[in-house]
């Protein structure tokens, strides 16, 4: 191992005699172990905490007196804590895990000085913890997706900067001649997130812009967190794990490159669709809606790619936990994006804005797509880090079915509920449009609340199901961490084939 004489020398594999040859995959995996395990455990902790906050918030929507005496658990605080815990806690930590592991593998470079990455991860999680504590005690900035108080955000920025720099260094000194599409997505995400986060922080919190420009910046940011941070990480994972698990290269690499560049061009100006109908210039809204329509290009192209790769191998879903989650996520990516493109149209938005439909869409994207893909990634990565098999197939099945069914129920119930809510809220206008009795009175608001009750209760039940799935996952992970390593497993990729699994040829 190169001695730490010069940081840049120790980073560059060319100066180390051991790393002159292309590093073995197992060595690469082993080099990422410490920071990767840290991010995985943090992510796991955050998703449990985030789910508990979610359940409390969900119960309060139909049973407002639930935990009504606890000041910290007021709906405005606990729902915000849920949002930030799952985004900056679970989803971001899972993203960091995937970034490190995938970049190391794809660049064929060993991860050096893992302790520095670990430090960055600790800073990040300390920042998020302080932020959530701040939200619960009432210091929320009340700007959606940016609620973490200003005293915690610099920590996040420093942590992210460290991690971004590390990933770029791994890429720069990598020994792989070809830049696989997953690397494009990851590098782009690492470039985009600091940009949107710092601009949004500056223009809405540190030196707020005036008037509706704040709202525009807010929703440009919030939408781009989904589209330029989480979506690329999710897609990078699908593009890697789907072919890897099947042993089949991706159907059309050309389409994946086209998908990446069209996403880069179109995604970022779609954020305005959150403000359709608002006091924002009509042409800006139109630009956002047009961009949302254009997003159909990368989405359809990606969907075709994934589907054509899977064709003929759907029976593999029986044998691979990773594949189940990845395919579920990939299918929902296509679904949620197509629905999203239509949701931005003024006619649709008129009905669904400010209803539960938006919540359904948010969970469809962040949970049924991104979180499920991250679960799939973890099912692939953890055995290779620990050189152990997953202890319980039953728990994996419970995890998959509980979360898949739970999230689908939630999305369905809130979508229908959202439409119902929107139609009721729009009643006088709708009545006039449909040529009904002129001067129809609006539906009393309490009536709308009463109607929504059944949808919200169903959502809480689905949330409990999802929580059960998460518990199964947590038990499995902890069990795996604690169980002793089997003597016969020497390398991460040598797991036994079940006899039914024939070798797949192209």
């Amino acid at each position: 191992m190169a001695s730490g004489t010069n940081l840049s020398e120790s980073l560059n594999p060319a100066t180390s005699s051991e790393a002159v040859k292309r590093a073995e995959l197992s060595e690469i995996d082993a080099s990422t172990k410490i920071p990767a395990l840290f991010f995985l455990c943090s992510a796991l902790g955050w998703i449990l905490i985030g789910t508990i906050f979610a359940l409390i918030a969900s119960f309060k929507m139909h049973t407002p007196g639930f935990l009504g005496d606890a000041e910290w658990l007021t709906f405005g605080r606990v729902r915000t804590a849920h949002l930030n815990a799952v985004i900056y806690g679970w989803a971001s930590n899972a993203s960091f895990l995937v970034i490190i592991w995938l970049m190391a593998r794809l660049s064929r470079s060993l991860l050096r000085h893992p302790i520095l990455l670990l430090t960055a991860g600790v800073f990040w999680n300390v920042g998020v913890t302080i932020g959530i504590y701040g939200i619960l005690t009432g210091d929320s900035t009340s700007i959606e997706w940016l609620e973490i108080p200003p005293y915690a955000t610099p920590l996040l920025f420093v942590a992210y900067a460290l991690m971004g720099v590390w990933a770029v260094i791994m890429f720069r000194f990598g020994k792989s001649p070809h830049i696989y599409v997953s690397q494009w997505y990851i590098l782009a995400a690492l470039f985009w997130f600091p940009w949107i986060y710092s601009v949004a922080q500056i223009m809405t919190i540190w030196a707020p812009a005036r008037g509706t420009v704040q709202a525009l910046v807010n929703w440009w940011f919030a939408h781009n967190v989904l589209g330029l941070w989480f979506t690329p990480i999710g897609l990078a994972s699908v593009y890697y794990f789907l072919p890897k698990v099947l042993g089949k290269p991706i159907h059309s690499y050309y389409l994946s490159v086209l998908g990446f560049w069209s996403l880069a061009i179109f995604y970022n100006w779609a954020g305005v669709h959150h403000l359709v109908g608002g006091p924002v210039p009509a042409w800006v809204q139109t630009a956002g809606i047009a961009a949302s329509i254009m997003m159909l290009i990368p989405v359809v192209v990606t969907g075709i790619n994934h589907h054509m790769t899977m064709i003929g191998s759907f029976n593999a879903l029986r044998y691979s936990p990773t594949l189940r989650f990845i395919v579920f996520g990939a299918v929902n990516y296509t679904l949620v994006s197509v629905i999203g493109s239509f949701m931005s149209l003024r006619g649709w938005a008129e009905i669904t804005h400010f209803t539960q439909h938006t919540i359904a869409h948010a969970h469809h994207g962040l949970y049924a797509f991104f979180t499920m893909v991250m679960f799939g990634a973890i099912y692939y990565i953890l055995p290779r880090l620990l050189l152990k098999e997953w202890p319980s197939a039953a728990l994996i099945s419970v995890h998959f079915w509980a979360t898949a069914v739970g999230s689908l129920i939630m999305v369905l119930v809130l979508t229908v509920g959202g439409f119902h809510q929107g139609l009721l809220l729009n009643t006088p206008k709708l009545a006039n449009t449909l040529g009904l009795q002129p001067g129809t009175d609006p539906v009393p608001f309490l009536e709308v609340v009463r109607v929504m009750n059944k949808y919200l209760v169903s959502r809480s039940l689905s949330g409990i199901l999802i929580f059960v799935g998460h518990l199964a996952f947590a038990v499995n992970v902890v069990w795996m961490l604690l169980k002793p390593r089997s003597a016969e497993v020497t390398a991460p990729t040598l797991f036994r084939n079940p006899p039914e699994m024939e070798v797949v040829t192209r």
Binding site: Y254, A282, T286, I293
Partner: protein, 220 residues
């Protein structure tokens, strides 16, 4: 023997080569070899090309139709700046109908019937102030009235807010509409008031504290 200059076109060597079978065989083998295959830039699949073009077309049409002239003050996508320019002719407004709508504000105190509240708010019905001098009633609207005032034999001591500068900021048109309406409603006999007259008085008095009844009585 003269050594052949390689730069010269030496026909003797070529003739020798042409008749040597082994050389011909080697050349034939080499001539059959195709160049190494390498992948060129694969053309875009036709379906993808068609789909991308269709979506771009749809997006472009949408932008053109809903651009509202790229006007930063236009919030409605159906706004068409060229149409607004041609509709230069002002729409005909019925001052009495407009005034009736505006009266909702006044009805809070003067009541929907215009009768006022005895001892509190003076009536507008058959009021000598309403039907009398234009100059007085416009001033009341513009700057308000406070202190004791005698209306139809009864004294009222209250405060009427200003609807002009420093108050609700109503335009000359609005003040003229409300006054025209009130002056012909409930059997009132006052003449209509024009926006120009209101503008003239506004210019003369500007923003000031509410009038007292004595000051107004001094004005014809």
């Amino acid at each position: 023997m003269k050594t052949p200059d390689p730069r010269e076109h030496n026909t003797r060597i070529e003739q020798a080569g042409a008749s040597d079978e082994s050389i011909q065989d080697v050349h034939a083998i080499l001539a059959r070899e195709k160049p190494e295959p390498h992948e060129g830039y694969s053309p875009m699949p036709l379906f993808v090309l068609g789909f991308v073009s269709a979506i771009i077309f749809i997006g472009a049409i949408y932008i053109v139709r809903h651009r509202a002239g790229f006007d930063p003050l236009a919030y409605d996508e159906r706004y068409d700046p060229s149409m607004a320019a041609t509709n230069a002719a002002p729409v005909k407004v019925d001052p009495i109908a407009e005034g009736k709508k505006l009266f909702m504000t006044c009805a809070a105190c003067h009541q929907p019937t215009g009768q006022g509240v005895p001892g509190v708010f003076p009536p507008l019905v058959k009021s000598e102030w309403v039907n009398g001098s234009e100059d007085r009633v416009i001033r009341i609207l513009l700057n308000g009235l406070s202190g004791p005032v005698k209306v139809e034999g009864n004294t009222y001591n209250n405060a009427m807010p200003a609807f002009g500068p420093g108050g609700y900021g109503w335009s000359d048109e609005k003040i003229s509409y409300i006054l025209t309406y009130v002056r012909q409603e409930w059997g009132n006999t006052g003449a209509p008031i024009t926006p120009e007259k209101v503008a003239e008085i506004r210019k003369a008095v500007g923003q000031r504290k509410p009038w007292a009844a004595e000051e107004l009585e001094a004005i014809k």
